[in-house]
């Protein structure tokens, strides 16, 4: 066996141990916490997603009430270069679940000054839930470059008192 210096040996042992611990921790925690890519909530067909149908909420995008003043869901359809709807009004203290998809190219959905930040991929529905506590306005923007009109792709959430 080749001679390895004592200090080298210590470094090798420490680094191999660290890598092993991190690897095992990553493997186990990814199963324990169910890590997943935040995009694929549901698969849809981008060609027919905007077609109104009784079982297609994106055919009539907008805010939908689950419990008055408390719980809402917002279906937002992204396309070049706008969001439908452009304006969403919710009462303060309400919890809103956003379902966003694209009918053409890849977009982004970010509500400024909140944790909502999603990639919008055609054929997939992105989902995130947020509670709006105080009355104020938020801008939501497309933050994935999607063509020449990208900079005008934005909307507003108005949290009413």
């Amino acid at each position: 066996m080749i001679h390895v210096d004592r200090s080298e040996k210590i470094y090798i042992i420490i680094s191999v141990t660290l890598i092993s611990v991190f690897f095992i921790a990553l493997g186990i925690s990814s199963f324990v916490y169910g890590f997943q890519v935040p995009v694929p909530e549901q698969r849809v067909d981008p060609r027919t997603i905007a077609t109104p149908a009784p079982d297609n909420p994106f055919g009539e995008p907008g805010l939908r009430e689950l419990v008055p003043g408390k719980k809402y869901e917002a279906y937002v359809l992204a396309q070049i270069w706008s969001f439908t709807p452009r304006e969403i009004r919710v009462p303060a203290g309400s919890t809103v679940t956003f379902y966003v998809t694209s009918k053409d190219v890849q977009h982004g959905f970010r509500i400024n000054e909140t944790n909502v930040n999603m990639q919008i991929v055609p054929g997939e529905v992105s989902k995130l839930t947020i509670t709006f506590d105080e009355p104020r306005e938020y801008d939501f923007i497309c933050h994935e470059y999607c063509g020449v009109g990208h900079q005008s792709m934005a909307g507003k959430i108005i949290v009413e008192p």
Binding site: S20, R64, E73, T97
Partner: protein, 240 residues
């Protein structure tokens, strides 16, 4: 045995058998390695499959087709499949009672080991879906009163139950004309929501399989299997 002379020398060279004497770190890393491999085998082969415990099912207080009060506690100990609709639902309204009809017809082929399976249709149109109307609908659908219950109640209670508890959207656009998302919910005997089918036409095979999995878990959770089932939940061993 064949070399009696060698026996005396054996204790000195006990490491010879493998050609090396395993040191403590080697043993430790092997044990860790086997544990990790075993874990990965468990979560990839998934010998035990469970349905997720999504959340606690909502509580409610409604009335049935006989005008009697029914609460969620009445279904404790039973596996319950819910759907939400209104009786005047005609095309293009997404009709969901057909799936419950099929599940009811195929309950015989399912062995739940004595755990009752109940079907519950909740109408969100109490103004028109009176107890008499619910009775007529039950008769028309061939609902077995021992299995299939029809419920309705006060509008705000229904909103909190269906919209708040089950997160299923419905709204009265015009009087008597509802817009809603078709959905089915599976709640286990402990009142825990175990599966959601957010479509007008779910696969009945899948629903029956899910009911079977819930019943199996109840029966198999004994002794050591308890820990195996907890591990299956922890490592998300859900059916695909």
């Amino acid at each position: 045995m064949n070399h009696p002379d060698g026996l005396a020398a054996e204790p000195k060279n006990s490491g010879r058998r493998w050609g090396f004497r395993p040191s403590f770190p080697v043993i430790m890393f092997s044990v860790l390695g086997f544990l990790t491999l075993g874990l990965f085998a468990f979560v990839t082969i998934r010998p035990i499959q469970v349905l997720p415990r999504i959340t606690l099912g909502p509580g409610y207080f409604l009335t049935d087709a006989n005008g009697a009060a029914v609460t969620n506690e009445d279904f404790r100990g039973s596996i319950v499949l819910y759907n939400f609709t209104y009786l005047n639902c005609t095309a293009p309204c997404p009709e969901t009672s057909g799936t419950l009809q099929e599940v009811q017809a195929r309950l015989d082929e399912l062995d739940t080991g004595g755990i009752p399976v109940r079907l519950v249709t909740i109408s969100f149109d109490p103004a028109r879906d009176t107890p008499e109307a619910l009775q007529a609908a039950a008769a028309k659908l061939g609902a077995d009163p021992a299995v299939w219950t029809f419920l309705t109640g006060a509008p705000e209670r229904l909103k909190w139950l269906i919209g708040g508890g089950f997160s299923v959207y419905y709204e009265e656009r015009e009087p008597g004309d509802f817009r809603f998302d078709p959905a089915f919910m599976l709640v286990d005997g402990a009142g825990v929501l175990r599966a959601e089918y957010r479509t007008a036409v779910p696969d009945p095979d899948r629903i029956l399989r899910d009911i079977r999995l819930v019943a199996e878990e109840v029966h198999n959770r004994q002794g050591v299997a308890n820990y195996a089932y907890d591990a299956a939940h922890l490592f998300l061993c859900y059916p695909r």
